[in-house]
Structure formats: C-alpha cells, structure tokens
Symmetry: C2
Subunit: 112 residues, 2 copies
Amino acid sequence: MNTAMLTALAEPNRLHIIELLRDGGPLTIGEITSRLELNQPQTSKHVRVLSEAGLVEVEPVANRRIIKLRPEPFQQLDSWLETFRSMWEDRLDRLDDYLREIQAQDKTFDQS
Amino acid sequence: MNTAMLTALAEPNRLHIIELLRDGGPLTIGEITSRLELNQPQTSKHVRVLSEAGLVEVEPVANRRIIKLRPEPFQQLDSWLETFRSMWEDRLDRLDDYLREIQAQDKTFDQS
DNA sequence: CTGAAACATTCCTTTACAGGAATATTCCTT
DNA sequence: AAGGAATATTCCTGTAAAGGAATGTTTCAG
C-alpha cells in the first residue's frame, strides 16, 4: 500500500474534502473553502497534498480550479483491503458451513 | 471515517507491522522487532499506537505480548470505501451500455 | 490598462511525532 | 531471592507538517 495516500487521508480537513467531493461532485477551491469554513490558502495547500497523493485531479478552468476525485487510489485501497477480507469472512464461512449442514439435513429428510 | 486509524496506518513501519500480522498470524513484540529490524522500544511504541487505534489487540501472556489483528476497523474501512464504489463502477455501467448497443445491433441484423 | 476575483506561494510559529539511548518494569527460572 | 528475558517508559533531539498572515500570480471584465 501507498502510505502517501494514507497520510493524505489521515488529516481531518483533507478527509472532509474527499467526502465533500464524493457527495457533491467536482468543486472549486472557493466552494471547498466556504463549505469547510477554512481559509483559502489552507484549502489550496490541502488540495495540493491530495493532488500529489493522486487522490484528486485539478483541472484549471480560467480563473478557477475544478477539483475531482480520481477513482484509481480508491480501487487500490480496495484491493489492498481484499487481502484482509479473509479475516472477517471466516464468520461467513462458518455460516456457510451451517447452511450446508441444514441442506444435508434436508436431504436426509427427503430420503425419509 | 476514523482518522485515528488512518493516521496509524500512514506510518510505514506500522503499515508493515499490520501486513506482517496479516501474513504471519499473531506475533510477539520480539518477533516483530526482529522481522522488521527495528529497536524494541520503537516496536512497542508503534504497537501501542496501533492498539489505541483499535487496529490490533494485545494479549499479555506471561512475559510477552501477543499481537493480533482486529477485523472491525478493516470492515469499517471497507464499508467506507463502499460509498466510493459507484465512482469506478460507472465504467462497468458504460460497458453495460456498450453491450446493450451490440445486442441492439444484433437484433437489427436479425431483421435484415 | 486597471481593478477585482480566484488561487498560489512564502514566511513564521507552534505542535506532533519518530527515532535513539538509557532505564524501569514484569515475569519466569533456578 | 537473584538474574535474565521480554517489554514498557522516559527523556532528548530533529524534523515534518498544519495554521495564520501577508503577498504574489493569473485571468477576466470593463
């Protein structure tokens, strides 16, 4: 895994920016600034960090910058999480076993 | 999302510890120390951070501590990621559209 | 060409945190 | 009870990073 991405997400304001973008589509620096009640320079700095971590794409349009989420890092994070999934799916496996048992019982009943 | 968890994961040595535990099952402080070539105090400190973030469970057994992964935070992270999944599944939707187009064309061919 | 809007950059200060070294604690063995 | 193994804690130092304030840059409108 990429620790740069995690470092970027670990800061509350930046995480908040990410969720703003997830919910509210692409936003400009100014929009993020007002919705998060930050100062504009801090917003710019945070977006810069997010951009350098690849989490966000910055598209200059005239006077302003349009910030959008990039899906790739989230996919990466997702497939990294995959490698842990067996941890909590053990329980589901046990449920599976249980269901299989029930099914076996049903068969027994069918034959009786 | 929990930024404490992300902060804990964002440090390379700690991330490494997590992956060690994922791959090698529960480990003691000493085992982590030697496999990661850290000093023992740093290992203890990092494990403490991981523990306070809930990522890890520390079970004292006599002289040593047995460190295990806790599934819950990874589940949390997973369901947080769910809220982003539509982002990269749009492409699959577009593929769907494409397939539907092809199918429509086939119908046209059938009629000719 | 001037001014204003939208951002970026720089400088400064404060704080958090990682690593190293030394020391303290806990627990088992004998 | 003593010593050693495994781990924790403390103290120190350096560094990175966040926020504030001020200023610089770009772009459009008029």
